[in-house]
């Protein structure tokens, strides 16, 4: 399972040793696709407006609405104005300079795999390139452009959400550094869609610049990868399907932050402290951020993926032979499935190359201890050397599972642990040689005003959720074995078939929560078995799945990891059965379920504060909708939810069987 990965190079090192100004002003001569010369933003706009596709849609819209084509064209032109980037080298240089300063204060290092850069450079010359970075921070796209500038690579144009445009000045700056802006929703707006897709395709087809966007659609607040969005991926693959380009190279990029700038912001957001509108002043409040140490960033440019080779034998391009290619059409089912599978593959490729810091393992262990202690009323925290020993154990396990772990080899384990803890001192406390989550104190600098039990609960939850977001970074490594561990626990016998059924149930239940490729149940099951057998935690025969003696510990760890999610989904089912009135709508779901959960948490009937996460709640609802246990109906209000109580009840029961109670020794009555 040990994967060969490239070495990293710290690009800040040179910045610390030479002039930032000279760096920002240096000669920048990137190689372009097939020796293209870059074209002006205006030329690009007129190419888009004159494209056959857009002309066709304009005349269609004009026929449908009875408006003059010129008017519709005006609209299209306005949309394009709002959308288009206006990349300017001077702005890039400005950012190169300021970001150098900022990065040097914030981060210890920015590590980039240079071999990945070389591969990218090669790819850019051969085919149009799409960059797909993971999305965990606002920082991501500036960071990407910064790195590409540093390596003298073609600067990408980046699809950014419209919310940035709220920040007047910043929005324009970003536009001048290559961002183009898309509205969050434009469902039925044919004209908008057409301008947008043609804009992206024109840039891509002509190889004017690498196109960059976030497959996950938005920043993941939980550090878990999000279910990929397919719209843009569809658009960038379309020129290949239609033969307009020979191939498209898609490059997954994994950006891992040792400490996420938005850490506490995210936690609050998920707890329902309303998200501050992304305004300029909001971003500048983050100024205090500048005084802190955010450790290092690792950016891994993955292997470029050829869309052509992925599509080989899966997509019949002849389908496009019988209709002029500029007439927009809904992608066929074949294509939709292909794009969907590809999107999952790419997200998994991002996950695989995410660098995990030791702290990620520590956070996982500390969270588990936190919950066990909390219920058992034991002594608070865990002894430092015990934590270190466990961390070393977990390090070895995760390596065997193929994790891309950045565990400094030159330090002793206890040095590693203490340096990790000190970087995250906002989240943990060490007292009398014992380590615990910093839940007693209100989290990171919050004023001491939490008076009501609910407020106190929420402020504790901020710390737990922040911590969970680090644990989540490692979830992709453990998720398949963890599903298997829970399945073994739930299955009434050791029969392989039964374990598989149980695995399959869980996997299906959680496919909105974790990245589990559609239709890959058998593969996932086999992968999980393989890993657990390899680490001698399981014995798998033709018929049976048996946990070994030494496997107990691994399985206990794995089931505990999944347990908060099981409880979360369970309690949401309970909520839907007990409280959901006819008037429950999608919109009211989160506040209502939150209230329900707070009540139970305060009453001590729930173990995991984590289940307060709106992310989990949304995912659970999406899963229930997908499974048909809840339906959206046209009630009094749009998005009214209709609960199938029988089904929800039975799901809750089945989930209950999977709970980790017996592994955690301390059984708890709920």
């Amino acid at each position: 399972m040990l994967k060969k990965r490239d070495d990293f190079e710290d690009i800040l090192e040179e910045r610390r040793n030479s002039s930032d100004l000279r760096y920002a002003l240096r000669c920048y001569t990137p190689v372009l696709y097939k020796g293209m010369t870059p074209c002006k933003a205006d030329t690009l706009k007129s190419m888009v407006l004159q494209s056959n596709q857009l002309r066709y849609v304009i005349s269609q819209v004009s026929k449908e609405t009875g408006r003059a084509t010129d008017d519709v064209r005006e609209d299209a032109s306005a949309i394009l104005e709002e959308m288009a980037h206006s990349l300017q080298l001077s702005t890039v240089r400005f950012f190169a300079f300021t970001l150098s300063k900022v990065f040097k204060t914030l981060f210890r290092s920015i590590c980039v795999n240079e071999e990945g850069i070389q591969r990218l450079q090669q790819a850019i010359q051969e085919h149009p390139v799409v960059l797909l970075p993971s999305h965990r921070s606002y920082m991501d796209f500036l960071l990407m452009s910064y790195i590409l500038y540093t390596y003298d690579l073609a600067l990408p144009v980046i699809a950014a959400g419209m919310d940035f445009m709220g920040m007047k000045f910043v929005g324009e700056m970003l536009r001048m550094s290559g961002a183009f802006f898309i509205r969050r929703s434009f469902g039925g707006d044919k004209l908008y869609w057409s301008v947008f897709s043609e804009y992206v395709k024109t840039m891509l087809k002509n190889g004017l610049a690498p196109v960059e966007f976030f497959l996950e659609g938005t920043r993941s607040r939980t550090a878990k990868s999000l279910t990929p969005k397919l719209g843009l991926l569809n658009i960038v693959m379309d020129p290949f399907f239609k033969g307009e380009v020979y191939d498209v190279s898609v490059v997954p990029v994994s950006i891992s932050y040792e400490r996420i700038l938005e850490e506490a912001l995210y936690a609050r957001e998920m707890l329902g402290v309303p998200k501050p509108k992304e305004s300029t002043s909001g971003l500048f409040k983050a100024r205090k951020v500048l005084s802190e140490d955010y450790g290092s960033i690792h950016v891994y440019f993955g292997q470029p993926v050829s869309v052509r080779s992925l599509a080989q034998g899966r997509v019949n391009r002849c389908k496009f032979n019988l209709v002029p290619r500029h007439i927009p059409g809904k992608p066929s089912e074949e294509i939709q499935n292909f794009v969907n599978d590809t999107a999952y593959r790419l997200v998994r490729a991002q996950e695989e190359n995410m660098v995990l810091k030791p702290w990620v393992l520590l956070a996982s262990l500390l969270l588990q201890h936190h919950h066990q202690n909390q219920t058992a009323g034991q002594e608070r925290g865990i002894a430092l050397d015990e934590l270190t020993a466990q961390a070393v154990w977990l390090r070895d396990v995760s390596r065997e599972y193929g994790a891309f772990l950045n565990w400094p080899g030159v330090m002793t384990p206890s040095e590693v642990v203490s340096s990790s803890l000190s970087l995250h001192r906002g989240l943990v406390r060490i007292c009398e040689g014992r380590v615990q989550l910093a839940v007693e104190q209100t989290a990171t600098g919050e004023p001491h005003s939490a008076v009501t039990p609910e407020e106190e609960l929420l402020s504790r939850a901020v710390v737990v959720l922040s911590c969970a977001s680090y644990r989540n970074q490692a979830l992709h490594v453990f998720i398949r074995p963890a599903l298997l561990a829970s399945a073994i626990h739930a299955a009434s016998s050791n029969q392989k078939q039964e374990v598989f059924n149980s695995f399959s149930f869980l996997r299906n239940m959680f496919s909105n929560e974790f990245i589990l490729c559609p239709g890959a149940t058998v593969q996932d099951f086999e992968e999980a078995c393989y890993l657990l057998v390899k680490t001698r935690a399981l014995q798998v025969t033709q018929q049976e799945v048996l946990v070994t003696e030494r496997g107990q510990r691994t399985l206990a760890f794995l089931t505990s990891m999944l347990d908060p999610f099981l409880q979360g989904y369970q309690v949401i089912c309970r909520f839907l059965c007990e409280e959901a009135a006819d008037t429950l709508t999608e919109k009211r779901f989160i506040p209502a379920v939150r209230k329900f959960i707070v009540k139970h948490l305060l009453a001590g009937r729930l173990r995991y504060t984590e289940v307060l996460s709106s992310d989990l709640q949304k995912n659970a609802l999406a899963a229930l909708l997908r499974l048909g246990a809840v339906r959206k109906i046209k009630g009094a209000e749009p998005g009214t939810l209709k609960v199938n109580a029988v089904m929800v009840n039975s799901l809750e029961d089945t989930l209950g069987k999977n709970r980790a109670v017996s592994w955690t020794r301390n059984t708890q009555q709920e």
Partner: protein, 615 residues
């Protein structure tokens, strides 16, 4: 401006054996001396292209020359060819792969004969042969794998005997006998097939008889009132044109293979000629067809120029590739010979502009008799033959600059020798109109940045067409194998298909372990209202490969997949044969397949015409 007669370099390719044709108006079966003798191997290569006396070789000085006296290029030295060859393919004159020089009859499998058939055939006095040479010569067309195998002295299933009917009635007799004795018949025209159409199905256990039409080569009558000629199907293109020219007419049908390909072959494969813009493709030229099938003779009852009488039965015959019967006689349209011909050429800054120009020409429906656009690789190849001193791009440019007014010179700044491409043109008609037409086309070209580049360059382009097949044999002497294949495609797809197919070829070669980068180029050879015909040329140096032909075939297969995925057709004119059969169902749909199949089942229930093509 000189009037160039194609004759200058083509029609003198008449063999010494060729005697004066009998009077053109005579009908009947008397066998006279033929242009194409029964013993083809006496004048043509048994394991390569064309006449035995004409070939490329590198002389002692390492310079390329073309032997013989038949062509304009004959006897000429081409100093640039060696460099081009070595640079393009990474080939070397040191590394030779000579062909097996002589055909050893003993390695040809002995014939499986149907004694009863042979006996009855003898009584008809239709000539036939069991000689190994005759049989081997008719066991192949000109696909790469066919020629490669011959050069290695390898023979697969070959026909068991060859018959030479002299007229329609002979064919009727032969077909009757074949049906009676259950013998497999394979019509053979000029043998220029490039679709494996002439390959014997290896699983065929019956006696296979190759029916060589070459001796049915008379023009039976010319009708000057209706401008038609009634011709036997075995006549080869050069004879047909030469004989008609003698009476002041022509058909204008000039496929590149016209020296050797036959009228019947054209009908059977739906051939296309270079000058189709004026004269039409074979389906436009044919007025009446007579074909002998196992069910009897099929023909229409009159020669009306167009009919609404249900689906046109000619269209079951055209493209039937020898699976339904033997085409014996054809009435074709003829035209008075053109008063004036003029070549021309235009250089474009890049291929995109060139295609845009051709598209515009097609849109305005003012295409010259022929207009072809070569990509940059072929442009460079063409230059190599240039008569100018210091043959290279720079000198062409300076030539152009010297000959053009200053305003054009400035526009040359944008010309990158690695992007340039050239269109060759051929105008035909009466002088006034040709000159007018020429101006119109050059004016359009100018709008796309095209600059007139002289008549010589154009003429040379067309001349090269006739020797390109000879050139392949030279390549094969030095580890280089290659071939061309074609498609037709809607206008909006032309650029995409060219780019993608060329790139696919390069990628597949790399993938299959070809050590040297392949020659992967294309040209647009015909324009239509709704699209164009595109040719791809693909060749590579196979040193280091254990099974080069297999690699070649895999790459060509992938290239065909790519063509289809890019909206190209399975074939514009080469046909399906056995080489492209696997794609037929997808091409014509299940129902379409069923239709074709039911026609075959009705016409030839015993599969007497069992060459296995098409379906």
């Amino acid at each position: 401006m000189e009037v160039l007669k194609l004759k200058d370099y083509k029609w003198n390719a008449v063999t010494a054996e060729c005697k004066a044709q009998e009077s053109q108006k005579t009908a009947g079966c008397s066998g006279e001396a033929k242009t194409v003798p029964r013993k083809r191997h006496e004048i043509m290569k048994w394991n390569g292209w064309g006449y035995s006396d004409s070939r490329f070789l590198f002389n002692k000085k390492g310079q390329a020359e073309f032997t013989g006296k038949r062509y304009r290029l004959s006897g000429m030295i081409m100093p640039g060819l060696k460099d081009w060859f070595e640079v393009t393919f990474g080939a070397s004159l040191q590394h030779k792969t000579p062909a097996t020089p002589v055909l050893t009859s003993s390695s040809v499998p002995p014939p499986t004969l149907n004694e009863a058939f042979v006996e009855e055939l003898k009584s008809t006095s239709i000539p036939f042969s069991l000689d190994a040479e005759d049989r081997v010569f008719r066991a192949h067309g000109h696909c790469l794998h066919e020629i490669f195998a011959l050069r290695e002295g390898k023979f697969g299933r070959v026909p068991d005997m060859v018959v030479w009917p002299n007229c329609h009635n002979d064919v009727v007799n032969i077909v009757e006998l074949a049906c009676k004795h259950n013998v497999c018949l394979m019509p053979y025209g000029g043998g220029t097939s490039v679709s494996s159409a002439l390959e014997c199905p290896p699983e065929e256990t019956r006696c296979i008889v190759s029916l060589d039409t070459s001796q049915m080569n008379r023009i039976l009558w010319i009708d000057e009132k209706n401008l038609t000629a009634h011709v036997e199907s075995g006549i080869v293109g050069q004879d047909l044109e030469r004989l008609l020219n003698e009476s002041g007419y022509c058909t204008g049908h000039e496929p590149d293979s016209m020296e050797f390909s036959s009228l019947g072959g054209w009908v059977a494969t739906r051939a296309s000629g270079m000058k189709k813009n004026i004269y039409g493709n074979i389906e436009d030229l044919v007025v009446h067809i007579k074909m002998v099938t196992p069910q009897g003779v099929i023909e229409k009852s009159c020669q009306g120029p167009r009919m609404s009488t249900g689906p046109d039965i000619h269209h079951f015959i055209m493209g039937s590739e020898g699976t339904l019967g033997v085409v014996t006689e054809v009435t074709m349209k003829i035209r008075p010979m053109p008063e004036y011909q003029k070549y021309g050429s235009v250089v474009f800054p890049n291929f995109e502009q060139g295609v845009a120009c051709l598209r515009e020409v097609a849109k305005q429906r003012c295409a010259p008799a022929s207009i072809r656009l070569m990509d940059n690789e072929q442009f460079k190849f063409g230059l190599m033959y240039s008569q100018m001193k210091n043959e290279n791009v720079a000198s062409l440019l300076s030539f152009l600059m010297k000959n053009k007014c200053t305003s054009l010179i400035t526009s040359f700044k944008g010309f990158d020798p690695n992007n340039l491409c050239v269109a060759t043109l051929l105008f035909e008609g009466d002088r006034e109109k040709v000159l007018q037409h020429e101006k119109q086309v050059y004016d359009i070209a100018a709008k796309f940045g095209g600059l007139a580049a002289g008549e010589d360059n154009g003429q040379r382009g067309y001349m090269l067409t006739f020797v390109i097949a000879y050139l392949r044999d030279l390549g094969m002497d030095y580890y280089v194998i290659g071939e061309s294949f074609e498609t037709s495609v809607p206008w909006d797809r032309v650029l995409d298909i060219c780019r993608n197919v060329k790139a696919r070829i390069v990628a597949e070669c790399k993938d299959k372990g070809v050590q040297f980068s392949p020659f992967s180029t294309c040209r647009v050879t015909q324009t239509y209202d709704a699209g164009a015909c595109v040719y791809f040329y693909f060749a590579f140096n196979y040193r280091g490969l254990s099974d080069p032909v297999n690699v070649y075939e895999q790459v060509e297969h992938a290239a065909r997949d790519e063509i289809l995925a890019n909206g190209g057709s399975l074939s514009h004119h080469h046909g399906v044969g056995k080489l492209r059969k696997e794609w037929m169902r997808d091409t014509v749909s299940n129902v379409g397949m069923g239709m074709l199949k039911s026609v075959k089942d009705y016409v030839d229930p015993k599969n007497i015409f069992g060459n296995g093509n098409l379906l």
